[in-house]
Symmetry: C2
Subunit: 557 residues, 2 copies
């Protein structure tokens, strides 16, 4: 099959809408969130497609395949039993490099349109991807569908859009004529070509394989770089499906499919470290632990390294004119995907003397107990709890949850939930632990990222003390998100100042259906790139501008 | 004196023209190149102003001034005898940080307009700056005037323009409304603020203090960062004048003058190393040796580091249809400022069997001898030679020139020129040394940067061998410029491919009044940022995009 030009150029309108969206930052998405939007047969077909993959060898017809690897076990229980290509980089990387010249010559617009076709094909298979994401990340189905499907596709498209915009600010050609008084002007004909830097490596994560993988993957591909995808060993399938789709579209559009390839690994092999130091690798995108992110930044000096690492997210609670709204909003934020989001609040800073609210003054204990009750109410029904919490993604998260009780006084204990469809799934409600900022031993606990369904109700001396603790937390530990509840203009301004100075994204007084841990592509920035939690933001000009270089050729006219 | 809003907003038209220029890359500059354009009294006033500075203490009224430093001696002979503030960073850096909030709140447009006013004031004093540049860099007056004046101001304005553009792609505010079917839409009000990263450090160079200093200085300032300027100890005055002008304009526009400050140093003190590792320093711009550039990239991990380092520039000579034009163009490129430009060609790759030209076949020896004669003719008249060559900037350059004869067979010996105005100036014509690429011992000589008036006529087996040597040179040694002369489409294509793959800026068949070592702001890129000679290009989006972060605050609407 060959892709028609009409099919590709048909995506130009979407690209134009995306360009407009990142300019206005108004709401926009071409990818529907509702499962029903994908057609009546889509749910059954998606499930069947996913089931058919189980126990198979996922061949991608890649050069340099020297074996097969894969041992994914769903956090919901079932083994996937899928084998993926293991690579010999000495064969695959040169093959990927050979694919570059034609991709470079295609230019920014054609590259963008091919990327949009890849995303369109992924979008059409969103139900299949949803099951793949669910059974690797442990997300509940609806979240896997939305965050792993349309939201991830949005972030991919956003990256393509920024890449296109940044590459096209310099014209392809220019005629330059410099006046010389009475003499003839000096004249030059100039051409400007965007050229990728080399092979890009995407190192995927366990919890959001597509959402965190797509921005780097599409930013690098759209800027002319081949992309090697090294998925997390527990979350290979969503990215393997992505790679297969990309290779199909590339081949059908007349490009070398080796522009996108997969590198699976044997248990404990740690190929990310080896690949990251290869001289051919010029760009690395990574989501995961701070220790490996810092290692990459320090050692992979031949590459541009974009990292999203650990952070400690804070919500400062000063006052509110919607106490119930605040509690229910926070309860949802703490519960969603069992707190296994890099954006989930960890520390709730509450003045020990309590806070003024529309429901009267509330003491520290009242706020904590009311929040605990709110979480309890939200997750009281097991079906609803399962739909919100999903499953714990791995034993490390469970171990942290189990250890949380020792870190302070438990205000809300974690509860075990049964999942009738998947009896082996480890489903737990979040724990809330009371700690006191004035107790030095507590600090090491609440100022360390405790990834998973653990949050700390931190008693602070005052709102001023909370603002200073917030500043220190962002500066020293990093933060993907900051939230604050206050009716005081002065406090609002102080929190804003801290976020401006320490570079963190702030959500103020969320009491409705938007949550601090959710961001919308084309409008919200994910991370700031200016604090220790991440060295890049999704998505801005800086995320794409250094993935390519502009090469000028000038000739006398 | 207070700057009126009218004066500042008057620069908006210039900013708009600059925005248009970087979009079209057609010729444009608001800064006249001809000394006469600055008014009849400007030359005398400029000279007088420069002379009046000699032997004085250059006070900038900076906090944390703990002493005075300065020992500049003009490459033309005279001691400048000027003392500049030596800083206590523990006092100055906190003062600079305190200046940030108001500068951030001013927003991208006002920051740009203030930067344009600084540039306009510098422009008005171009004659004074020309003498300052001449007597620190050793450039001849006309070059010091043009490269140190309008061309440097152009590069500064270009950086401001990119900074403005990059900061304004995200709107200041956005209203976001997400449909929820039959329910009310989710609504948020969002604000987006560009915030600098912290204090920027500019480490100046000896040869082009303003031209190489302005891009980083203005890019950082325009993106909201205070800028600490650490000039080269031999070239303090041009940047001290710049800092004084900036501080005046900042104060008059109601900002803290400590947004721009100077750090002079005692001989051998090496304060760049200390300053570069201060936690307050978040951005570093550096032009100079590869060893210190690499050190900065490796050790100043808390900062974004932009470096321009050493490289080996190549001109590939394959064939020409304008032999005389080629020779005279190359002769000028080798002679200008005694080859002391980072863009001067070093290696001329010439097939050992000679080349076809419009004047018949020319053997390797004929090409070399004709080029030598062309340089000799160009510099035959001492007055013209002085005007083109300037003076050797420091004893290291002279030592390299003196040692060049040992590196191969001298095709054109260097000649000593007397400067009647400055008898102590060290003025030398360039040397051309014949080497053979097939002789392994030669390689270490011609593949090492030999900064100064030394070039190598490298005999190569064939044009194909030259193309491969060019590739290896760029990849391993870096290159700020590449030139080629060829009438063959195949060779042209091959050289272009190498430049695209190895990321180097190429000039083809220059035979007239444009030279491979000159680039024009708003149109030509200086360096590519994609090979070892520099990790950034002047100027593109990547040069500015990571100097600031965008902080979002979202509120329920």
């Amino acid at each position: 099959m060959t892709l028609t030009d009409t099919r590709l150029t048909g995506h130009r309108a979407t690209l134009d809408q995306a360009l407009e969206a990142i300019r206005t930052r108004a709401y926009w998405s071409p990818h529907p969130e509702h499962p029903k939007a994908y057609g009546e047969s889509a749910p059954a077909e998606g499930l069947a497609a996913f089931e058919a993959l189980k126990g198979t060898r996922f061949d991608l017809d890649q050069p340099g395949t020297d074996g097969w690897a894969g041992a994914e076990i769903s956090p919901y229980g079932p083994e996937l039993g899928i084998e993926y290509p293991h690579i010999d980089p000495d064969v695959l990387l040169p093959a990927m490099r050979r694919a570059v010249p034609a991709w470079r010559e295609a230019g920014p617009e054609r590259r963008a349109l091919v990327c949009l076709e890849i995303l369109a094909r992924i979008s059409a298979r969103t139900h299949e991807f949803a099951h793949a994401v669910m059974h690797t990340s442990g997300q509940a189905f609806m979240m896997a569908f939305q965050a792993g499907g349309p939201h991830a596709q949005d972030r991919g498209l956003e990256a393509v859009t920024y890449a296109y915009l940044e590459q096209t600010r310099t014209p392809e050609t220019a005629d330059w004529s410099k006046p010389q008084g009475k003499r003839d002007p000096l004249k030059l004909h100039k051409s400007f070509t965007t050229a990728g830097r080399g092979i890009a490596l995407v190192i995927g994560c366990n919890t959001f394989p597509t959402w965190n993988g797509y921005p780097g993957l599409f930013a690098s591909l759209a800027t002319g770089n081949p992309v090697l995808v090294k998925p997390h060993p527990r979350a290979v399938l969503p990215l393997a499906l992505t790679v297969r789709t990309a290779r199909e579209v590339l081949a059908e559009s007349g490009f070398d499919p080796n522009l996108v390839a997969l590198a699976a690994e044997h248990p404990g092999e740690g190929i990310a470290k080896t690949l990251a130091l290869r001289p051919e690798i010029k760009i690395i995108d990574y989501t995961g632990s701070s220790s490996f992110g810092d290692w990459l930044e320090t050692h992979a000096r031949q590459a541009q390294v974009y990292t999203e690492k650990a952070g400690v997210n804070t919500v400062l609670v000063d006052s509110t004119d919607d106490y119930r709204g605040m509690l229910s909003n926070l309860a949802f934020s703490l519960s969603l995907y069992s707190g296994q989001m890099c954006t989930t609040p960890q520390n709730l800073l509450i003045p020990r003397d309590g806070i003024p609210t529309d429901a009267g003054h509330k003491s520290y204990d009242e706020v904590v107990n009311d929040l605990a009750a709110s979480v309890g109410g939200l997750l009281g029904d097991d079906a609803r709890a399962n739909a919100l919490l999903g499953a714990l993604v791995n034993p490390d998260v469970k171990a942290r949850l189990d250890g949380a009780a020792e870190l302070g006084e438990v205000a809300l204990p974690s509860r075990r939930i049964s999942n009738p469809d998947f009896p082996d799934a480890v489903v737990r409600t979040p724990v809330i632990v009371k700690v006191d900022a004035a107790v030095p031993e507590s600090e090491s606990a609440f100022l360390t990222e405790c990834f998973g369904p653990v949050s700390f109700a931190v008693a602070v001396d005052s709102t001023d003390a909370a603002v200073e603790l917030l500043r220190r937390t962002i500066r020293d530990r990093g933060a993907m998100t900051v939230g604050a509840y206050t009716v005081s203009e002065k406090t609002e301004r102080a929190v804003e100042e801290v976020c401006l100075e320490e570079s963190a994204q702030l959500s103020l007084n969320l009491t409705g259906g938007v949550y601090v841990n959710q961001t919308a592509a084309f409008s919200d920035l994910h991370g700031s790139g200016g604090n220790p939690a991440a060295n890049a933001a999704l998505c801005d000009g800086a995320f794409v501008a250094n993935r390519f270089r502009v090469v000028e050729v000038r000739r006398q006219a």
